[in-house]
C-alpha cells in the first residue's frame, strides 16, 4: 500500500520532470539550476499554503478562507510597518503568524463548537476577512514606498544561493513532515478525516483536532500574508484574490483526497510545484497569455483523473485465494 502511495508521488514527480523537459525544448534555459531556483522561489508561497490546506483537507474539512486570511494578515502587517517602521521584521513575522492563527481559530471554533460545515464557515469568512481589509485600509493601497526597506528585503535575503522565502518554504516542508508523520496530533488529522466516528471511539477529540488543523492552516496563511506583501511590495484589498481554489487544486493534484484521511506532505509539495511550474512556465515559453487559463484547467483535470485511476478501489480478490490454495 505504501507502494501505491509512493508510486502516486513518483508519477507526479515524473510528470513534473516531463513538464520541465518539455518546456526546455521550447526554452532552453528553463531547466538551468538558476532558473529552477527561481521557479521554486516563485512557488514557495503556494507550497506553504498547500501544506496548511493539506492538514485541513486530510481532516475532512476545507479552508476556503486562506487567501482572504493571507490578504488580511498582509494588510495588517503592512499597516503596522507603515505606521511604525521601527518594528523589527522578526516581531512582524510573529504578529503575522499569530494573527493568521487567530483568524484560523475563528474558523476552527465555528466548526468545532457549532458544528457548521467547514465549507460554509470558510465561505463566510472568505468574504468577511476580505471585507475587513477594506475596513481597516479604507480601500487604499499600501505601496512599496510606504514600506520600510528591511520589511521588503526579508524574503529576498540571499542565504547560500537561496532566498529566505525559499528557505522558509523548506523549513515549513520539514516541519510539516515531522508534524504529520511523527506527532500524535499529526496522525489524529488522518484518523479524524478517515473515519470521524471511529476517532471518537479512540479517544480523539474530533472537533478539537479540526480546530487545530484550521489554526495551523491559518498560521501558515498569516505567515504567507507577510511574505506575499513583502515580496510584491504592495498591500491592497484584492491581493491573492481567488488563490484559495489554486491552493485546493494543488492539494488535489498532489493526491490529497477531498474526502479526507488520505494525503502526504510529498504529495502536497509536488502538487504545488506542478501547478506552480505550469503557471510560471506558460508566460516564459511564450504561449499566448490567452491560452494559459485553459491549459492550467486541463492540467488540473488530467492530474485528478490520473490520481483517481491509481486510487480506484479494485474489487475484492476472492478467487485468487482459491487458486493459491488449490
Amino acid at each position: 500500500m505504501t507502494q501505491i502511495l509512493k508510486s502516486r508521488e513518483a508519477i507526479l514527480a515524473a510528470a513534473i520532470l516531463l513538464l520541465v523537459g518539455l518546456i526546455s525544448t521550447r526554452f532552453g534555459d528553463f531547466a538551468a539550476p538558476a532558473n529552477l531556483i527561481n521557479v521554486f522561489n516563485d512557488t514557495s508561497i503556494l507550497i506553504m499554503l498547500a501544506l496548511g490546506q493539506m492538514v485541513v483537507i486530510v481532516s475532512r474539512c476545507i479552508d476556503l478562507s486562506v487567501a482572504s486570511n493571507l490578504a488580511l494578515t498582509g494588510m495588517v502587517v503592512a499597516t503596522i510597518n507603515m505606521m511604525f517602521p521601527a518594528v523589527p521584521v522578526p516581531v512582524l513575522l510573529l504578529v503575522a503568524i499569530g494573527f493568521g492563527a487567530l483568524l484560523g481559530s475563528i474558523n476552527g471554533i465555528l466548526v468545532w463548537k457549532l458544528d457548521i460545515p467547514p465549507i460554509v464557515v470558510t465561505l463566510g469568512t472568505l468574504t468577511i476577512f476580505r471585507g475587513l481589509i477594506f475596513l481597516i485600509s479604507n480601500g487604499e493601497w499600501i505601496n512599496a514606498h510606504e514600506m520600510s526597506p528591511s520589511f521588503k528585503a526579508f524574503p529576498r535575503y540571499d542565504v547560500l544561493g537561496l532566498s529566505l522565502l525559499s528557505w522558509l518554504a523548506i523549513a515549513t516542508i520539514a516541519a510539516f513532515f515531522v508534524l504529520v508523520t511523527r506527532t500524535p496530533p499529526g496522525r489524529a488529522f488522518f484518523a479524524v478525516g478517515g473515519n470521524p466516528h471511529a476517532a471518537v471511539y479512540t479517544g480523539i477529540n474530533v472537533g478539537y483536532t479540526r480546530f487545530l488543523a484550521f489554526v495551523i492552516s491559518g498560521a501558515v496563511a498569516g505567515l504567507c500574508g507577510y511574505l506575499w506583501v513583502a515580496r510584491y511590495a504592495v498591500a491592497y484589498v484584492d491581493i491573492a484574490g481567488g488563490f484559495e481554489l489554486e491552493v485546493v487544486a494543488a492539494c488535489v493534484i498532489g493526491g490529497i483526497s477531498i474526502a479526507g484521511g488520505i494525503g502526504s506532505v510529498g504529495g502536497a509539495v509536488l502538487g504545488a510545484l506542478f501547478l506552480g511550474i505550469v503557471k510560471n512556465a506558460l508566460p516564459v515559453v511564450n504561449i499566448s497569455p490567452f491560452w494559459q487559463l485553459a491549459i492550467s484547467g486541463a492540467a488540473i483535470i488530467i492530474a485528478v483523473a490520473f490520481n483517481a485511476r491509481s486510487e480506484r478501489k479494485k474489487g475484492r480478490i476472492i478467487l485468487k485465494q482459491a487458486e493459491r490454495l488449490a
Partner: protein
C-alpha cells in the same frame, strides 16, 4: 416502570402508526424558510427606512437584476448540492456560452439561433462536468475547479482582448425588456423557473431521487435509483441554467468579454447555502433559495442606495451566512443545556 415502557407493552401488535406527528402548520413554523423570511422582511423594512428611494417600483424592478441571473443558476445548483455534488464552473460556463453566442452573432445569426446555441453550449458544458463526475467517478468539487479554468480559458482563447458586440436588435429583450409594467423579462423568467424547479424537486419522482441520493447514494442505488443518470442530468440542468443566465446577462450587457460573470460561482453557492440547502447534501428547498435570492438582492441594493461599497455588503452576507446557520444551533445548545440542568 416508566410510562413509556408501559405504553410500549400495551400497544397492540396491530396498532396504527400515524402518518405524521406534526401538523403542516407546525412544520412550516419551525422551518428554515420561515426564519429566512423573517430576515428578509426585516431587511425590507430597514431598507425602506434607510433610503427614501427604496420603495419605488421602478427602482425595485431595477434591483432585481442584482440576483435574477444568479438565482436561476442557484435553483439547479440547489438540486445538485442536495444530491451531494457541486459545480464551481457555472460562471465559466456563462463566459463560454456567451462567447459562443457572440461568435455566432458575428456571422449574422438571428435571435432564435443564438438562444438555441446558448442553451446547447451550456448544456454541453454541464454534460462534460457530468461525464467527468459520473463517468470517471471524480470528485465534483475538484473537477469543476478544473473546468472552471478550462471553460473560461477557451473563452480567452477565442476572444483574447477582443469583445463581441453586434448582437441582433431583438436580442436585448432578454436582459433589458419588460413583460408588463415594471416586470422585466428576467424577473418573470425567474418566477417561472422558481415554480418549475419547486415542482421538479418537491413534487416529482425525480426530486425524490435527488433527496435519496443526497442522503445515501449507495442506499439509493440499492433501491433502484439510477444514481449516475440522475447526477448527470443535474449537471446538465446546471449547465443549461448557466446557459440561460448567459443569454440574459449577455443581452443585458450587450457585449461579451471573457471576464464576464467572474467570481459568480461562490456567490451562487452562498445563495444556495443561505437558502437552507445542506452543503453536505440531502436537504434543502426551492422556496428557501428563492427567499435567499431576495435577501441577497435586497442587501446589495439597500447598501448600494446608501453608497456602501460592495465589499462591505459582502461582509454582511458572510456574517448572515454564518449566523443564520449558527443561531439555531446556539439556541438548540442553550435549550438542551437548560433542560439537562
Amino acid at each position: 416502570m416508566s410510562d413509556q415502557a408501559l405504553d410500549r407493552d400495551q400497544r397492540a401488535p396491530d396498532r396504527n402508526i400515524p402518518d405524521r406527528l406534526t401538523s403542516p402548520f407546525q412544520r412550516i413554523f419551525k422551518s428554515w424558510e420561515t426564519l429566512l423570511l423573517a430576515v428578509a422582511i426585516a431587511i425590507f423594512i430597514i431598507n425602506s427606512f434607510s433610503s427614501p428611494y427604496f420603495l419605488d417600483p421602478w427602482n425595485l424592478s431595477d434591483a432585481t437584476f442584482n440576483f435574477t441571473e444568479k438565482a436561476m443558476i442557484a435553483f439547479a445548483m440547489a438540486l445538485l448540492i442536495i444530491s451531494g455534488e457541486i459545480d464551481l464552473s457555472v460562471a465559466s460556463i456563462i463566459a463560454l456560452t456567451s462567447t459562443a453566442m457572440g461568435y455566432l452573432a458575428q456571422f449574422g445569426f438571428g435571435v432564435p439561433e443564438l438562444v438555441a446555441a446558448g442553451l446547447l453550449v451550456g448544456m454541453l458544458c454541464g454534460a462534460f462536468n457530468g461525464f467527468l463526475v459520473t463517468g470517471l467517478g471524480l470528485p465534483s468539487i475538484v473537477v469543476t475547479i478544473g473546468t472552471m479554468s478550462l471553460f473560461r480559458g477557451i473563452s480567452y482563447i477565442v476572444l483574447g482582448d477582443q469583445a463581441f458586440r453586434g448582437y441582433p436588435a431583438g436580442f436585448s429583450f432578454f436582459g433589458q425588456g419588460y413583460v408588463w409594467w415594471v416586470f422585466t423579462f428576467e424577473i418573470v423568467l425567474f418566477a417561472v423557473l422558481a415554480v418549475l424547479y419547486g415542482i421538479l424537486l418537491h413534487k416529482t419522482d425525480f426530486g425524490r431521487a435527488v433527496y435519496a441520493i443526497g442522503n445515501n447514494p449507495v442506499g439509493a442505488q440499492f433501491s433502484g435509483v439510477r444514481v449516475g443518470r440522475v447526477k448527470f442530468i443535474l449537471f446538465m440542468l446546471t449547465g443549461l441554467m448557466a446557459g440561460i443566465a448567459a443569454i440574459c446577462l449577455t443581452s443585458r450587457l450587450g457585449s461579451t468579454r471573457p471576464s464576464i460573470a467572474f467570481g459568480w460561482e461562490l456567490e451562487i453557492v452562498t445563495m444556495v447555502v443561505l437558502g437552507g440547502v445542506n452543503i453536505l447534501g440531502g436537504s434543502g428547498t426551492i422556496p428557501g433559495v428563492v427567499i435567499a435570492a431576495f435577501v441577497m438582492g435586497m442587501v446589495t441594493f439597500g447598501f448600494g442606495l446608501i453608497n456602501v461599497p460592495g465589499i462591505v455588503m459582502s461582509i454582511f452576507i458572510g456574517l448572515l451566512l454564518i449566523s443564520v446557520i449558527a443561531l439555531p444551533r446556539l439556541w438548540l445548545n442553550y435549550r438542551t443545556r437548560r433542560k439537562a440542568v
